[in-house]
């Protein structure tokens, strides 16, 4: 851990909100932007089930679940600059914990979900401690190896049905507010609540001093060390938090489909999560969610037309990387900026 005993040697800078002398304009602008997008997005997501059919409600539950997963992945990829190929295994872990606790052991689903979240946080933090001391390809391979290990365990475990997995997993019991989550529309709103909570927590994390350290590590870890940061616990905790979100996504996923099998833990899903992040835009907070939406919807559309949807996906990915700097979010923000600038006609002061 960091050498904290010497902190006394300089007068320190504590929370003092009243004296914002040199205003942090960038942060204020970013906050305004976040709130605008969040509120518009939330309104759309709330209105959605009232205007689209059952099939799409279910598809949007899927998008939100993947949205949680890929936002967590982006804490590593976009914010910290670490490429993990092991995140599907944390999603799988969360899924299996909920399945085992709720279906085999008979615990209430809400408790099983909490268990999923906690266990995936702890295990991801542990894996993080072991892997974040490495970088680049080595890090990628270690996370891949861990993922494959979890996958193999899931395949070989008898009491969870081995390769066949488990079925008839219950959804959350919302009887206490008179709702039945087995209805897809109700379940969608439950997923939406989980999504909003997850995004709020993640937002807090990336805005915190801790989150700024992650960005510093991405930009130049050497200088962070020279400044006095012991970087590896930060990276390990980032890994833990992102694994926790994957675990929550997994717990929702198994309720969504009422079943789980080891396929959810394959590295292909980890790779797809990375694709979603990059297509959506890793430099933006909501970008990965856009990527998840694009991915799920396009996959749905393409797979109706052709078996080879992954081929088209590969093509789209290459096009996005080559021509859309910053992914869909980058494109949208440039578009919005141009649009707003024309409308306000220089009314907004640009720094």
């Amino acid at each position: 851990m960091e050498n904290t005993d010497d902190d006394s040697w300089h007068p320190l800078v504590e929370g003092d909100e009243s004296r914002h002398d040199p205003m942090d304009r960038a942060a204020a602008r970013d906050q305004r932007r976040f709130l605008t997008i969040a509120l518009i997005g939330l309104a759309v997501l709330i209105a959605l089930p009232f205007v689209v059919g059952d099939y799409y409600v279910s598809l949007f539950s899927e998008i939100l679940i993947f949205g949680i997963l890929v936002s967590g992945v982006n804490l590593l990829l976009g914010y910290t600059g670490l490429v993990s190929l092991g995140h599907a295994s944390f999603m799988g872990l969360g899924a299996y914990v909920t399945a085992i606790a709720a279906s085999l052991l008979g615990y209430p689903v809400w408790l099983s979900m909490l268990a999923s979240i906690l266990i995936s946080l702890l295990i991801a933090y542990g894996v993080g401690l072991l892997s974040v001391r490495t970088k680049g390809v080595q890090f990628l391979l270690i996370t891949l190896a861990f993922g494959q290990m979890f996958h193999a365990i899931a395949e070989k475990t008898r009491f969870t049905g081995g390769d066949d997995g488990m079925t008839n997993i219950p959804r959350i019991d919302l009887g206490f507010i008179g709702l039945d989550a087995d209805q897809d529309r109700v379940f969608y709103f439950f997923v939406l609540v989980c999504f909003v909570v997850a995004m709020l927590i993640l937002r807090r994390v990336v805005e915190s001093p801790f989150g700024r350290v992650l960005v510093g590590i991405r930009e130049n870890e050497k200088r962070m060390l020279a400044m006095g940061y012991t970087t590896f616990p930060y990276k390990a905790l980032a890994f833990g938090i992102s694994g926790m979100l994957a675990g929550l996504a997994g717990s929702l996923w198994v309720q969504h489909g009422f079943f789980v099998n080891p396929h959810i833990m394959t590295w292909e899903l980890s790779g797809e999560a990375l694709l979603m992040v990059i297509i959506g835009g890793s430099q933006s907070f909501f970008g990965p969610v856009l990527g998840a939406a694009f991915y799920v919807l396009a996959k749905d559309l393409l797979s109706e037309i052709t078996e080879a949807y992954l081929m088209f996906f590969g093509l789209i990915f290459v096009l996005v990387v080559a021509f859309f700097q910053g992914g869909l979010a980058g494109f949208a923000s440039r578009f919005a900026e141009r649009f707003l600038n024309r409308k306000s006609d220089g009314g907004e002061d640009k720094p």
């Binding site: 050498n3 914002h20 001093p209 801790f210 989150g211 930009e219 200088r223 060390l225 020279a226 006095g228």
Partner: protein
Amino acid sequence: MSQLSVSDISKSFGALKVIDKFDLDLAVGERHAVIGPNGAGKTTLFNMISGWIPPDTGRIEVEGLDITGRSPQAVTQAGLARSFQKNTLFDGLTVAESLRLAVQAHSPVRFNFLQPARKFGGLQQRAHEIARQMELETVFDRDVNTLSYGQKRQLEVGIALACSPKILLLDEPAAGTSPAERATLVRLLTTLPDDVTLLLVEHDMDVVFGVCERITVLNYGRVVASGTPDEIRRDPEVRAAYLGESAGHAGEAGKA
């Protein structure tokens, strides 16, 4: 007690002896320069003192605390901050964000992961103060990769300064800067708080003579001379080894 004490450190890369039995003692508040031609071992010396390279032999102490072989982050937390000869900056961040990170590194809030960083106005304020000192105020909110080379050098120093070190190690801070920027640097270094100890590697003799009260001359990893600026200027061995024919006004000496 001396602020920084380096005793008998040596370093070889393979057969090449880069630093040979180097000794240095800095009193609190001392302004000390290490000069010498390229390849003399100055940067290697800094790397050893700041924890990036372990010395083969010898001992390094900060205020009596043995830091030999400790990690760079531990050395910095012990109160010694450095800048780099080759810019080591955050290209994708703004000047403000870069400086804030440095300030935050020495604040307990660095571990906080659930409160918005902007609530800690002190970080921003201190960062702004450093930017003003380094004359980076006008580019405070600009991305680092849009700065001029000279401004990047100023930021390189500013980041080290923002760590509020007791001992500051600067590796050629004036390299590639304009005369005006050099003047700013000299002004800044001469107005550092009295209790900050400075170890400076610099080829620009106006900066060295303008800031430092003691100078150590290094050549091929060995100390050739050590003394006040006047003594160094007069030392025949130094003139021969380093200052060359333009002794006394050797601003360009040693530049690659």
